[in-house]
Protein backbone atom coordinates (compact mmCIF):
# COMPACT_ATOMS: atom_id res chain seq x y z
CA UNK A 1 0.00 0.00 0.00
CA UNK A 2 1.12 3.51 -0.78
CA UNK A 3 3.09 4.96 2.17
CA UNK A 4 1.44 8.36 1.86
CA UNK A 5 -2.03 6.81 2.10
CA UNK A 6 -1.03 4.99 5.25
CA UNK A 7 0.44 7.96 6.97
CA UNK A 8 -2.78 9.89 6.76
CA UNK A 9 -5.12 7.27 8.18
CA UNK A 10 -2.68 5.83 10.70
CA UNK A 11 -3.62 8.53 13.17
CA UNK A 12 -7.30 7.72 12.84
CA UNK A 13 -6.71 4.01 13.31
CA UNK A 14 -4.55 4.59 16.38
CA UNK A 15 -7.09 6.95 17.94
CA UNK A 16 -9.95 4.55 17.29
CA UNK A 17 -8.02 1.57 18.70
CA UNK A 18 -7.25 3.41 21.92
CA UNK A 19 -10.84 4.61 22.14
CA UNK A 20 -12.01 0.97 22.28
CA UNK A 21 -9.81 0.30 25.28
CA UNK A 22 -6.60 1.58 26.87
CA UNK A 23 -3.56 -0.10 25.34
CA UNK A 24 0.21 -0.17 25.72
CA UNK A 25 2.58 0.48 22.84
CA UNK A 26 3.30 -3.03 21.66
CA UNK A 27 -0.34 -4.06 21.87
CA UNK A 28 -1.30 -1.04 19.85
CA UNK A 29 1.31 -1.77 17.18
CA UNK A 30 -0.11 -5.29 16.79
CA UNK A 31 -3.65 -3.92 16.63
CA UNK A 32 -2.74 -1.40 13.95
CA UNK A 33 -0.78 -4.01 11.99
CA UNK A 34 -4.01 -5.99 11.62
CA UNK A 35 -5.52 -3.11 9.65
CA UNK A 36 -2.59 -1.69 7.72
CA UNK A 37 0.87 -3.04 7.14
CA UNK A 38 2.99 -0.43 8.86
CA UNK A 39 6.57 -0.02 9.99
CA UNK A 40 6.41 -0.72 13.71
CA UNK A 41 8.83 1.98 14.63
CA UNK A 42 6.63 4.74 13.30
CA UNK A 43 3.78 4.16 15.75
CA UNK A 44 5.80 5.41 18.72
CA UNK A 45 6.56 8.86 17.33
CA UNK A 46 2.88 9.15 16.46
CA UNK A 47 1.88 8.19 20.00
CA UNK A 48 4.37 10.69 21.34
CA UNK A 49 2.99 13.46 19.18
CA UNK A 50 -0.61 12.72 20.08
CA UNK A 51 0.35 12.62 23.75
CA UNK A 52 2.17 15.94 23.44
CA UNK A 53 -0.95 17.38 21.85
CA UNK A 54 -2.99 16.06 24.78
CA UNK A 55 -5.12 13.69 22.78
CA UNK A 56 -3.68 10.86 24.85
CA UNK A 57 -2.74 10.60 28.46
CA UNK A 58 -0.51 7.85 29.77
CA UNK A 59 -0.26 5.86 32.94
CA UNK A 60 1.93 2.98 34.11
CA UNK A 61 0.48 -0.35 35.08
CA UNK A 62 2.33 -3.35 36.45
CA UNK A 63 2.45 -6.42 34.24
CA UNK A 64 2.92 -10.03 35.28
CA UNK A 65 5.95 -10.32 33.00
CA UNK A 66 8.62 -7.68 32.64
CA UNK A 67 8.63 -4.03 33.67
CA UNK A 68 5.47 -1.90 34.10
CA UNK A 69 3.77 -0.97 30.83
CA UNK A 70 2.83 2.47 29.70
CA UNK A 71 -0.86 2.54 28.78
CA UNK A 72 -2.41 5.13 26.53
CA UNK A 73 -5.85 6.55 27.24
CA UNK A 74 -7.91 8.77 24.94
CA UNK A 75 -8.84 12.15 26.46
CA UNK A 76 -12.01 14.09 25.72
CA UNK A 77 -10.00 16.29 23.36
CA UNK A 78 -8.80 13.10 21.70
CA UNK A 79 -12.37 11.90 21.20
CA UNK A 80 -13.27 15.21 19.55
CA UNK A 81 -10.19 15.02 17.36
CA UNK A 82 -10.98 11.43 16.39
CA UNK A 83 -14.53 12.38 15.41
CA UNK A 84 -13.21 15.22 13.30
CA UNK A 85 -10.71 12.94 11.56
CA UNK A 86 -13.37 10.34 10.91
CA UNK A 87 -15.65 12.92 9.38
CA UNK A 88 -12.85 14.18 7.16
CA UNK A 89 -11.88 10.68 6.16
CA UNK A 90 -15.45 9.66 5.29
CA UNK A 91 -15.95 12.73 3.18
CA UNK A 92 -12.59 12.34 1.50
CA UNK A 93 -13.02 8.64 0.77
CA UNK A 94 -16.57 9.24 -0.45
CA UNK A 95 -15.46 11.92 -2.86
CA UNK A 96 -12.59 9.90 -4.26
CA UNK A 97 -14.69 6.79 -4.79
CA UNK A 98 -17.49 8.83 -6.33
CA UNK A 99 -14.98 10.38 -8.71
CA UNK A 100 -13.57 6.99 -9.67
CA UNK A 101 -17.08 5.62 -10.21
CA UNK A 102 -17.99 8.53 -12.42
CA UNK A 103 -14.82 8.08 -14.49
CA UNK A 104 -15.61 4.42 -15.10
CA UNK A 105 -19.08 5.14 -16.36
Amino acid sequence: MNAQFKKGVLELIVLESVRQRDMYGYELVEEVSKVVDVNEGTIYPLLKRLTNERYFETYLRESTEGPPRKYYHLTAAGVLYRDKLEEEWTEFAGRVSRFLRECKE
Binding site: E40, Y44, K70
Partner: protein
Amino acid sequence: MDKMDKKTFLAELEKNLAVLQEDELRDMINEYEQHIDMKIQSGLSEEEAIADFGNLEELTAEILEAYHVRTDYASGGRTAQTETAGAKDPTAGGAAAQLREGSRRLREGCARVGRAFWKGVAAAALGIRSFLVWMLRQLCRPFLWARRVWEQSRRQQGQENGADKEEKAASGLQRTDGDGCRTGGLTGIGRKLYRGLGACVRWCLGAAVWCIRAAWNLCCAGCSLLAVLCGLVCLFILGMLVVLLIDGYPLTGITLGCLGMTLCTFSMAGLWMTLLLRGKKKGSGQNA
Protein backbone atom coordinates in the same frame (compact mmCIF):
# COMPACT_ATOMS: atom_id res chain seq x y z
CA MET B 1 23.34 -1.39 9.32
CA ASP B 2 20.65 -4.02 8.91
CA LYS B 3 22.18 -6.52 11.31
CA MET B 4 22.16 -4.82 14.64
CA ASP B 5 21.71 -6.10 18.15
CA LYS B 6 19.54 -4.41 20.73
CA LYS B 7 22.34 -2.66 22.52
CA THR B 8 23.82 -0.99 19.44
CA PHE B 9 20.38 -0.12 18.12
CA LEU B 10 19.43 1.63 21.35
CA ALA B 11 22.81 3.33 21.58
CA GLU B 12 22.48 4.59 18.00
CA LEU B 13 18.97 5.78 18.66
CA GLU B 14 20.04 7.58 21.81
CA LYS B 15 22.85 9.29 19.96
CA ASN B 16 20.53 10.43 17.19
CA LEU B 17 17.94 11.72 19.62
CA ALA B 18 20.47 13.57 21.79
CA VAL B 19 18.69 16.82 21.05
CA LEU B 20 15.72 15.76 23.17
CA GLN B 21 15.35 16.43 26.87
CA GLU B 22 16.69 13.73 29.15
CA ASP B 23 13.32 12.42 30.40
CA GLU B 24 11.75 12.47 26.93
CA LEU B 25 14.75 10.59 25.57
CA ARG B 26 14.51 8.00 28.36
CA ASP B 27 10.82 7.62 27.65
CA MET B 28 11.40 6.96 23.95
CA ILE B 29 14.29 4.56 24.51
CA ASN B 30 12.22 2.63 27.08
CA GLU B 31 9.35 2.26 24.63
CA TYR B 32 11.62 0.83 21.94
CA GLU B 33 13.43 -1.37 24.40
CA GLN B 34 10.17 -2.84 25.66
CA HIS B 35 8.96 -3.32 22.14
CA ILE B 36 12.08 -5.26 21.20
CA ASP B 37 11.83 -7.34 24.38
CA MET B 38 8.27 -8.29 23.58
CA LYS B 39 9.16 -9.19 20.03
CA ILE B 40 11.89 -11.45 21.34
CA GLN B 41 9.40 -13.02 23.73
CA SER B 42 7.10 -13.74 20.84
CA GLY B 43 9.86 -15.81 19.24
CA LEU B 44 11.86 -13.50 17.01
CA SER B 45 15.60 -13.00 17.22
CA GLU B 46 17.06 -9.66 18.27
CA GLU B 47 18.20 -8.86 14.73
CA GLU B 48 14.83 -9.68 13.24
CA ALA B 49 13.01 -7.57 15.78
CA ILE B 50 15.23 -4.60 15.03
CA ALA B 51 15.10 -5.11 11.28
CA ASP B 52 11.32 -4.60 11.49
CA PHE B 53 11.95 -0.98 12.43
CA GLY B 54 13.48 -0.36 9.02
CA ASN B 55 16.03 2.35 8.43
CA LEU B 56 17.25 3.91 11.65
CA GLU B 57 17.79 7.33 10.06
CA GLU B 58 14.22 7.47 8.84
CA LEU B 59 12.95 6.34 12.21
CA THR B 60 14.90 9.06 14.00
CA ALA B 61 13.67 11.63 11.55
CA GLU B 62 10.10 10.60 12.26
CA ILE B 63 10.56 10.75 16.02
CA LEU B 64 12.11 14.19 15.81
CA GLU B 65 9.30 15.32 13.55
CA ALA B 66 6.88 14.41 16.31
CA TYR B 67 8.73 16.91 18.53
CA HIS B 68 8.76 19.55 15.78
CA VAL B 69 12.55 19.46 15.70
CA ARG B 70 14.45 20.01 12.46
CA THR B 71 15.44 16.50 11.48
CA ASP B 72 18.70 17.42 9.79
CA TYR B 73 19.97 18.92 13.00
CA ALA B 74 20.37 15.89 15.23
CA SER B 75 21.61 13.35 12.70
CA GLY B 76 25.28 13.97 13.45
CA GLY B 77 25.10 14.11 17.24
CA ARG B 78 24.70 17.19 19.33
CA THR B 79 28.13 18.58 20.08
CA ALA B 80 29.73 18.18 16.68
CA GLN B 81 26.69 19.61 14.93
CA THR B 82 26.36 22.73 17.03
CA GLU B 83 30.02 23.53 16.58
CA THR B 84 29.94 23.18 12.81
CA ALA B 85 26.62 24.95 12.51
CA GLY B 86 27.88 27.77 14.70
CA ALA B 87 31.03 28.10 12.62
CA LYS B 88 29.21 27.93 9.31
CA ASP B 89 26.34 30.27 10.00
CA PRO B 90 25.98 32.29 13.19
CA THR B 91 22.28 33.02 12.51
CA ALA B 92 21.38 29.32 12.44
CA GLY B 93 23.00 28.26 15.71
CA GLY B 94 21.08 24.99 15.92
CA ALA B 95 17.45 24.22 16.59
CA ALA B 96 17.97 23.90 20.33
CA ALA B 97 19.51 27.36 20.56
CA GLN B 98 16.65 28.73 18.48
CA LEU B 99 14.15 27.07 20.77
CA ARG B 100 15.88 28.50 23.81
CA GLU B 101 16.00 31.93 22.25
CA GLY B 102 12.33 31.67 21.32
CA SER B 103 11.26 30.66 24.79
CA ARG B 104 13.37 33.45 26.33
CA ARG B 105 11.77 35.99 24.03
CA LEU B 106 8.33 34.62 24.83
CA ARG B 107 9.02 34.88 28.55
CA GLU B 108 10.23 38.47 28.20
CA GLY B 109 7.21 39.33 26.12
CA CYS B 110 4.90 37.83 28.72
CA ALA B 111 6.64 39.76 31.51
CA ARG B 112 6.34 42.98 29.54
CA VAL B 113 2.67 42.41 28.83
CA GLY B 114 2.11 41.58 32.50
CA ARG B 115 3.84 44.75 33.67
CA ALA B 116 1.90 46.88 31.21
CA PHE B 117 -1.31 45.20 32.33
CA TRP B 118 -0.70 45.94 36.01
CA LYS B 119 0.28 49.49 35.23
CA GLY B 120 -2.96 49.89 33.32
CA VAL B 121 -4.97 48.38 36.15
CA ALA B 122 -3.33 50.68 38.68
CA ALA B 123 -3.96 53.73 36.49
CA ALA B 124 -7.59 52.71 35.95
CA ALA B 125 -8.10 52.16 39.69
CA LEU B 126 -6.61 55.56 40.45
CA GLY B 127 -8.82 57.17 37.84
CA ILE B 128 -11.97 55.50 39.17
CA ARG B 129 -11.07 56.47 42.71
CA SER B 130 -10.46 60.10 41.90
CA PHE B 131 -13.67 60.17 39.86
CA LEU B 132 -15.65 58.77 42.78
CA VAL B 133 -14.05 61.23 45.20
CA TRP B 134 -14.97 64.02 42.83
CA MET B 135 -18.53 62.69 42.64
CA LEU B 136 -18.72 62.58 46.43
CA ARG B 137 -17.49 66.15 46.65
CA GLN B 138 -20.11 67.22 44.12
CA LEU B 139 -22.76 65.40 46.12
CA CYS B 140 -21.60 67.01 49.36
CA ARG B 141 -21.38 70.47 47.89
CA PRO B 142 -25.02 71.50 48.52
CA PHE B 143 -24.72 70.41 52.16
CA LEU B 144 -21.46 72.26 52.62
CA TRP B 145 -22.93 75.33 50.98
CA ALA B 146 -26.00 75.16 53.20
CA ARG B 147 -23.78 74.89 56.23
CA ARG B 148 -21.64 77.80 55.18
CA VAL B 149 -24.71 79.96 54.60
CA TRP B 150 -26.06 78.91 57.95
CA GLU B 151 -22.82 79.76 59.73
CA GLN B 152 -22.55 83.07 57.95
CA SER B 153 -26.10 84.03 58.87
CA ARG B 154 -25.41 83.05 62.47
CA ARG B 155 -22.32 85.17 62.58
CA GLN B 156 -24.26 88.12 61.19
CA GLN B 157 -26.94 87.53 63.80
CA GLY B 158 -24.28 87.46 66.46
CA GLN B 159 -22.86 90.75 65.23
CA GLU B 160 -26.28 92.31 65.15
CA ASN B 161 -26.96 91.03 68.64
CA GLY B 162 -23.68 92.51 69.77
CA ALA B 163 -24.63 95.83 68.19
CA ASP B 164 -28.02 95.66 69.93
CA LYS B 165 -26.35 95.08 73.24
CA GLU B 166 -24.05 98.03 72.82
CA GLU B 167 -26.95 100.25 71.92
CA LYS B 168 -28.89 99.00 74.89
CA ALA B 169 -25.90 99.57 77.14
CA ALA B 170 -25.68 103.11 75.85
CA SER B 171 -29.41 103.70 76.33
CA GLY B 172 -29.18 102.09 79.80
CA LEU B 173 -26.63 104.69 80.72
CA GLN B 174 -28.98 107.46 79.65
CA ARG B 175 -32.18 105.96 81.01
CA THR B 176 -31.87 104.61 84.51
CA ASP B 177 -35.49 103.50 84.90
CA GLY B 178 -36.68 99.79 84.76
CA ASP B 179 -37.66 100.02 81.14
CA GLY B 180 -34.24 99.08 79.92
CA CYS B 181 -34.18 96.08 82.21
CA ARG B 182 -37.45 94.82 80.82
CA THR B 183 -36.46 95.14 77.21
CA GLY B 184 -33.14 93.43 78.04
CA GLY B 185 -35.02 90.46 79.55
CA LEU B 186 -37.24 90.21 76.49
CA THR B 187 -34.28 90.02 74.10
CA GLY B 188 -32.70 87.43 76.43
CA ILE B 189 -35.69 85.12 76.04
CA GLY B 190 -35.64 85.62 72.27
CA ARG B 191 -31.97 84.83 72.14
CA LYS B 192 -32.46 81.69 74.20
CA LEU B 193 -35.28 80.57 71.95
CA TYR B 194 -33.19 81.39 68.91
CA ARG B 195 -30.20 79.49 70.26
CA GLY B 196 -32.36 76.50 71.13
CA LEU B 197 -33.84 76.51 67.64
CA GLY B 198 -30.31 76.68 66.19
CA ALA B 199 -29.15 73.75 68.28
CA CYS B 200 -32.21 71.80 67.23
CA VAL B 201 -31.58 72.51 63.53
CA ARG B 202 -27.90 71.67 63.95
CA TRP B 203 -28.77 68.39 65.68
CA CYS B 204 -31.24 67.56 62.93
CA LEU B 205 -28.60 68.23 60.27
CA GLY B 206 -26.06 66.12 62.13
CA ALA B 207 -28.55 63.29 62.44
CA ALA B 208 -29.34 63.50 58.74
CA VAL B 209 -25.66 63.37 57.83
CA TRP B 210 -25.16 60.43 60.19
CA CYS B 211 -28.14 58.61 58.66
CA ILE B 212 -26.86 59.17 55.12
CA ARG B 213 -23.43 57.94 56.10
CA ALA B 214 -24.83 54.87 57.81
CA ALA B 215 -27.01 54.06 54.81
CA TRP B 216 -24.08 54.50 52.45
CA ASN B 217 -21.82 52.30 54.56
CA LEU B 218 -24.50 49.64 54.83
CA CYS B 219 -24.98 49.71 51.09
CA CYS B 220 -21.21 49.43 50.51
CA ALA B 221 -20.84 46.59 52.97
CA GLY B 222 -23.77 44.74 51.42
CA CYS B 223 -22.43 45.16 47.91
CA SER B 224 -18.94 44.04 48.86
CA LEU B 225 -20.33 41.00 50.70
CA LEU B 226 -22.37 40.09 47.65
CA ALA B 227 -19.32 40.52 45.39
CA VAL B 228 -17.21 38.33 47.70
CA LEU B 229 -19.87 35.63 47.60
CA CYS B 230 -20.03 35.78 43.81
CA GLY B 231 -16.22 35.68 43.71
CA LEU B 232 -16.13 32.56 45.87
CA VAL B 233 -18.64 30.84 43.61
CA CYS B 234 -16.59 31.84 40.56
CA LEU B 235 -13.42 30.56 42.23
CA PHE B 236 -15.08 27.24 42.89
CA ILE B 237 -16.22 26.91 39.28
CA LEU B 238 -12.77 27.98 38.10
CA GLY B 239 -11.17 25.22 40.16
CA MET B 240 -13.44 22.61 38.64
CA LEU B 241 -12.79 23.93 35.15
CA VAL B 242 -9.03 23.86 35.69
CA VAL B 243 -9.20 20.23 36.80
CA LEU B 244 -11.25 19.38 33.71
CA LEU B 245 -8.85 21.39 31.53
CA ILE B 246 -5.89 19.46 32.89
CA ASP B 247 -7.83 16.30 32.13
CA GLY B 248 -7.74 17.43 28.52
CA TYR B 249 -11.25 18.77 27.98
CA PRO B 250 -11.30 21.69 25.53
CA LEU B 251 -12.40 24.29 28.08
CA THR B 252 -9.69 26.93 27.70
CA GLY B 253 -12.11 29.67 26.70
CA ILE B 254 -14.60 29.05 29.48
CA THR B 255 -11.79 28.75 32.03
CA LEU B 256 -10.30 32.07 30.97
CA GLY B 257 -13.75 33.64 31.11
CA CYS B 258 -14.29 32.27 34.59
CA LEU B 259 -10.89 33.56 35.69
CA GLY B 260 -11.91 36.99 34.43
CA MET B 261 -15.20 36.79 36.31
CA THR B 262 -13.41 35.80 39.51
CA LEU B 263 -10.94 38.67 39.26
CA CYS B 264 -13.76 41.06 38.37
CA THR B 265 -15.95 40.10 41.33
CA PHE B 266 -13.07 40.24 43.80
CA SER B 267 -11.94 43.60 42.54
CA MET B 268 -15.55 44.80 42.79
CA ALA B 269 -15.53 43.68 46.43
CA GLY B 270 -12.27 45.56 46.96
CA LEU B 271 -13.69 48.66 45.35
CA TRP B 272 -16.73 48.65 47.62
CA MET B 273 -14.52 48.13 50.64
CA THR B 274 -12.42 51.18 49.78
CA LEU B 275 -15.59 53.21 49.31
CA LEU B 276 -16.73 52.12 52.74
CA LEU B 277 -13.53 53.38 54.37
CA ARG B 278 -13.68 56.63 52.43
CA GLY B 279 -17.21 57.26 53.64
CA LYS B 280 -16.09 56.97 57.26
CA LYS B 281 -13.12 59.26 56.79
CA LYS B 282 -15.26 61.80 55.04
CA GLY B 283 -17.81 61.61 57.86
CA SER B 284 -15.20 62.12 60.58
CA GLY B 285 -13.75 65.04 58.63
CA GLN B 286 -17.16 66.65 58.47
CA ASN B 287 -17.77 66.08 62.16
CA ALA B 288 -14.45 67.64 63.14
